[in-house]
Amino acid sequence: MTERVPAVEWFRPTPEPVLLGRRGRRTGTYFFPPTDAAGRNPAAPDEELDEVVLSRRGRIWSWTTNHYPAPPPFPARDPFRPYTVVAVELAAERLVVLGLLADGVDPGTLRVGAEVELDVGVLDRTGDREELVWTWRPVTAAGEGGT
């Protein structure tokens, strides 16, 4: 049986995929990824931080399709296929976060400002182990994120 593990602890693939962040109690500022020792808003260096789940939907700020393989540590894909990186603006958090485009989506359909939703992709496979990463999938006309 295949073991499926998230590539980083602040991405939770199940029951529905979410990115974990932190939020300052005093300023309301969000911090992502949640790996810093303290809040980074200089207006409140000592504020307490709570673990939060970031919005699962956002709008495309920009995107690009890469036509050359990235160097390690990005997992090599054999055969190489162009891969797309999407920058997504989260309205409530007022931040932009990058992510790979979900499998099977034609990047030719992407538009700046279009709505996308968090999904799960396989970053790397070794033996019976799959490493999972967050991806962005366009929200369909029916308003659902797809598969």
Binding site: A7, V8, G24, T27, G28, T29, Y30, F31, F32, P33, T35, R40, N41, P42, A43, A44, W61, S62, W63, T64, T65, N66, H67, Y68, P69, A70, P71, P72, P73, F74, Y83, V85, A87, A92, E93, R94, L95, V96, V97, L98, G99, L100, P107, V112, G113, L123, V133
Partner: protein, 397 residues
């Protein structure tokens, strides 16, 4: 004492290319050229500041001491500065601070690099707490990925086209033809850009700067030393900005894979690139209307257009028109990258900001030959280093 009292006494470069020699050799040649240009001896130098590159996690590899040893130990203190692509300006800032403090009268600033082929990549090893490692591991987000995100955004917000981007390359290539230090000295047509392979849509190979070997060096002196030694104080340092961003920076920047959150911010967030230039203008007491010439960091063709706006050369969204009007070409109102820019040089990271200063110095002296901007009096050089390093230098006659 005003900052105008720091004099650019000499500049020198080793040509950019892929020469396959050690960076120390390039730095030595550039340093000797700058000293000769200043009419000074190596033994006159009282401080050496080296711009560092970082390879395999070992920053000491390129250091002020390396150059001081290569020139022949003469006891001068050294400093070594790492600020990624902004290293040269940061090194210049350290040298200038020593001069302004009256600690030294002559400082030599050197940046040199030998670059590997292909994408710049993070050091080996697993580092789950390092955003530079994570952006490659999780996303394959190379540097051109970021350049392409900005370019696409420019297309969506302002209606820019890949042809506009190609025109930037064509302009800079026309400038670089006349530069003996440039690596690429051939005029490139927009059609050639359009026919080059796609790297990261919408950018093609000829939209994106290469990585090069090269070196640049600058000799700074105090005004009093220049007067005593008969060095003409033609070119003076009016400002050096090495600012970091202010929180929250609303633009996605290498090597981060998320921006700061603007929730809870005081006022409107200021994009980092605007702040870099603003700090330099404030120090110099000058504005964009005072500039005769600018060297800007065209890591990509599209990014040069962004910089026009960050520098205040035009209003947001006005860069394409400025380009089409010929304002930023030689002979225009505000020529940008008369050296040919990164489009003709490729990037030699710790040397690049100093190479910009070399070009401005020649422009302000009126010795830039076929690249000369007529009557140049004020020049600005700007760039940005990975990890939040600002770099902006203003020189004046």
């Amino acid at each position: 004492m005003s900052s105008d009292d720091v004099v650019v006494a000499g500049v020198g470069m080793h040509p950019w290319g892929k020469w396959g020699r050690p960076f120390v050799t390039y730095g030595l040649i550039a340093a000797r050229a700058a000293l000769a240009d200043a009419g000074l001896e190596w033994r006159d130098v009282q401080l050496v500041v080296g711009g560092e590159t970082v390879r395999n996690g070992y920053p000491g590899y390129v250091a002020g001491a390396t150059f001081a040893q290569a020139l022949g130990w003469q006891g001068a203190p050294v400093a070594s500065v790492y600020a990624a692509c902004a290293s040269g300006a940061a090194a210049l800032g350290v040298a200038r601070a020593h001069l302004l403090a009256g600690l030294v009268d002559v400082a030599l600033v050197v940046g040199a690099d030998t670059t590997p082929k292909g994408f710049l990549a993070p050091s080996p090893g697993e580092r789950g707490d390092d955003s530079d490692w994570l952006r490659f591991r999780l996303l394959g987000a190379t540097n051109p990925t970021y350049f392409a995100l900005y370019a696409r955004r420019r297309m969506a917000c302002w209606g820019a086209t890949p042809h506009d981007f190609a025109l930037v390359k064509a302009k800079n290539s026309r400038h670089g033809v006349h530069n003996p230090h440039a690596r690429y000295r051939r005029e490139i047509t927009p059609e050639e850009v359009a026919a080059s392979p796609v790297v990261a849509e919408p950018l093609r190979l000829l939209d994106i700067c290469a990585t090069s070997d090269g070196a640049a060096a600058v000799v700074l002196t105090s005004g009093s030393f220049a007067a005593a030694r008969g060095i003409a104080p033609t070119v003076r340092v009016a400002a050096v900005s090495t600012v970091t961003p202010t929180f929250p920076n609303p633009v996605i920047e290498m090597p981060n894979f998320a921006t700061d959150s603007a929730v809870g911010a005081d006022g409107t967030p200021v994009p980092f690139r605007d702040a870099i230039a603003r700090a330099a203008y404030d120090e110099a007491g000058l504005g964009p209307e005072d500039l005769s010439v600018a060297e800007v960091y065209d890591l990509s063709t599209a990014l040069e257009l962004d910089w026009y706006e960050h520098l205040g050369l035009c209003e947001p969204g006005g860069a394409e028109r400025l380009l089409h009007d010929g304002a930023t070409a030689l002979g225009g109102r505000i020529p940008v990258n008369p050296s040919g820019g990164l489009a003709c040089f490729g990037e030699a990271v710790p040397a690049q900001a100093l190479a910009q200063v070399c070009e401005l110095t020649w422009q302000l002296r009126g010795t830039a030959g076929a690249r000369q901007v007529e009557g140049a009096r004020v020049g600005l050089a700007v760039n940005q280093g990975l990890f939040g390093h600002g770099s902006c230098v203003i020189l004046r006659r």
